[in-house]
């Protein structure tokens, strides 16, 4: 239940502004890949192109190919909704639906699409997803309470449960821990380690220790200056990136001697 992603010569635009230039990268199935780099270098933008969330913004477009197990996401006739149901996403700020209970938040992917599901199946799906997100024990007695009543870390794990409830092939995480305290961060990192048994995980992070802790491979993005496009500088095993990078810019960044 996981697929690999291969990106070929991808250019990402906001209107006429080239935000990310010429990225080619191969993301293995059932692995954790981290994107690191300074703010504004296009990591999040690039991540959003992997499930066609980029084009939700007006004027945003993409050139190039993104292959999910060989199928081009940007091929003619591809329905972005199908893509997104296969490639889930967790956002920087926890965003549970405020009108829904915890249970309904987990079932959102099913219920919002009006799929029929029996109560027994729904209960099983809720439990499985919440267990998968390490949240079951904390919320099992208050599933009918609103999701917005949980703490920030719990809300973020609820969002992860919501994302895995639709059983995607790939999970994208856009700085999932940047709004969380260290304990919640640890919980989410543990979760990522478990998720990679079943899913392909791609995570954007500003925290290099986090990238080192959770990822198998790391991609370093950089930007030459304001108004210039972001580029993929180096992509290798995480240990290589942090201990023996081939590029000077990577070494400067990971060792804190940036700029």
């Amino acid at each position: 239940m996981s697929k690999r992603i291969d990106v070929k010569d991808l250019n990402v635009y906001y209107g006429n502004f080239l935000a990310v230039e010429d990225v080619s990268i191969n993301i293995e199935a059932k692995s954790v890949t981290a994107f690191i780099g300074p703010s504004g270098c296009g990591k999040s933008t690039f991540l959003r192109t992997l499930n066609r969330m980029h084009e939700v913004l007006p004027g945003a477009r993409v050139e190039g190919e993104v292959l999910l197990d060989g199928d081009n996401l940007y091929g003619p006739g591809v329905d972005p909704v199908t893509v997104r149901s296969q490639i889930g996403m967790v956002f920087q700020r926890p965003n549970p639906f405020p009108t829904m209970s915890i249970r309904d938040n987990v079932l959102a992917g099913v219920k919002l699409n009006n799929q029929k599901i029996s109560k027994g199946e729904a209960d099983a799906l809720v439990e499985r997803s919440l267990r998968g997100a390490n949240l079951w024990n904390e919320v099992k007695d208050r599933l009918e309470k609103p999701g917005s009543g949980l703490s920030g870390g719990q809300q973020q794990r609820l969002c992860i449960a919501r994302a895995i409830a639709v059983e995607p092939q790939v999970i994208l995480m856009d700085e999932p821990c940047s709004a969380l305290d260290p304990i919640s961060t640890l919980a989410v990192e543990d979760l990522i380690n478990e998720l990679k048994d079943q899913y392909t995980v791609v995570i954007v992070t500003h925290n290099m220790q986090q990238a080192a802790r959770v990822s198998d491979k790391t991609a370093f993005f950089n930007i030459a200056g304001t108004g210039k496009p972001g580029k993929l500088i180096e992509f290798a095993e995480t240990s290589t990136i942090f201990n023996n990078p081939s590029q000077k810019a990577t070494e400067d960044y990971v060792s804190g001697r940036f700029g």
């Binding site: 639906f97 699409n113 917005s148």
Partner: protein, 369 residues
């Protein structure tokens, strides 16, 4: 020298002169007395007394404060006086209106049968008897109340779908396209349309489509919806705009289609604001008089069919009772009925406003804490 005791002062060095707590009351009392004295010289009246006393109070308090507390505190007192004064000026007409309507309206409202009977068969003869004291004031507003409810309900049924769908287009699909900008512009223009023009539009429209002289409750409802739609569009648009984009993205990321996202995530999140906006829009049009006069005429009997025949409403009832009293020689019973109807109308508007607050609270997303 081991002890460094601070000498005990009478007053902390950190304070300046302060007016005593009772200072405003003293100044107020002096201002009222002085104001009365001044007014007595030029002929006393309550309004003048209020104005002169207010000016004296502000001048006295600011002057005293300036002398004792310094310029900064004096300016603070001046600003406070201005703010409170503005508040009182704004409140005065409101209280005056409510008071007048209550005083004049309650006798009419307490008349037996006022809410339950129409004006059908009520002629000047009855009113003359009532004025002479030989008979009760008969007749009531049942037909007008019924008409107001029917016309407003139909207007709401027309306006809410149109207004809400327009707002959804503007916020979710418009993307600042020329069409969206044109709609926004014309909605703004429509907000400023005089209500009589809306009435004439509806009358002329039905004149052209149905036939000359078509006056029914439905025509009035169309006229009212012309006034209501821009209000509904504006308020719904604002409510949809404040739904965080993150929720839309969260829904898209689950593989949910855009229309389902709007229907099941965006609208439920904004529903409390939309519903209270609609209620306020109803409150806004329920008291319209001119458009109803030219579209539904005025009836004295009960009309249950909104699509046929003239129909009364509370505002037009008030208007005709005052302008054309049932008994021209004894207008008092008519004006009593008019005031009673006015009170009922104000109560209706108040209930709608309370309803809007209740709706906003009931539908608001639960925090669960």
């Amino acid at each position: 020298m081991t002890s460094t005791l601070t000498p005990v002062r009478k007053r902390s060095a950190l304070t300046k002169g302060q007016l005593p707590k009772y200072a405003p009351y003293v100044v107020l009392g002096v201002a009222l007395v002085l104001g009365a004295a001044i007014l007595a010289l030029i002929g006393f009246n309550a309004f003048g007394w209020g104005v002169v006393s207010a000016v004296l109070f502000a001048a006295g308090l600011v002057g005293w404060s300036g002398a004792v507390e310094g310029a900064r505190k004096a300016k603070d007192k001046l600003a406070t006086c201005l703010v409170v004064g503005a508040f009182l000026v704004a409140l005065l007409p409101l209280i005056s209106v409510i008071w007048t309507v209550m005083v004049n309206g309650i006798p009419g409202l307490l008349n037996p049968g006022f809410l339950g009977t129409s004006m059908n068969g009520v002629t000047g003869v009855f009113d003359n008897r009532a004025a002479e004291g030989t008979g009760p004031v008969v007749g009531g507003i049942y037909h007008a109340l019924l008409g107001t409810v029917q016309i407003t309900l139909l207007a709401t049924v027309i306006s809410v779908p149109v207004g809400l769908l327009t707002a959804i287009y503007l916020v979710e699909y418009g993307n600042d396209r020329p069409l969206a900008r044109a709609i926004t512009f014309f909605v703004d223009v429509m907000t400023g349309i005089p209500s009589i023009v809306a009435g004439l539009f509806a009358a002329a429209f039905f004149f052209a489509v149905v036939g000359p002289g078509t006056k029914t409750g439905a025509v009035a409802a169309v006229a009212l919806s012309v006034l209501m739609i821009p209000v509904v569009v504006r308020s719904s648009e604002e409510m949809l705009k404040i739904v965080p984009n993150e929720l839309r993205e969260a829904s898209y990321a689950l593989g949910v289609r855009k229309w389902r996202t709007i229907l099941k995530v965006v609208i439920p999140t904004a529903i409390s604001g939309i519903a209270s906006g609609v209620t306020l829009a109803i409150a806004r049009v329920i008291g319209e008089t001119a458009p109803i006069l030219v579209t539904a005429g005025f009836a004295t009997s009960i009309n249950n069919n909104v699509f046929g025949g003239w129909m009364a409403s509370l505002p037009t009832f008030i208007y005709t009772q005052i302008l054309n009293p049932t008994s021209p020689s004894n207008p008092d019973p008519s004006s009593q009925r008019a005031w009673g109807a006015a009170l009922v109308l104000i109560i209706l508007v108040m209930l709608l406003n309370l309803g809007a607050r209740l709706i906003a609270r009931v539908f608001a997303p639960k925090t669960g804490r």
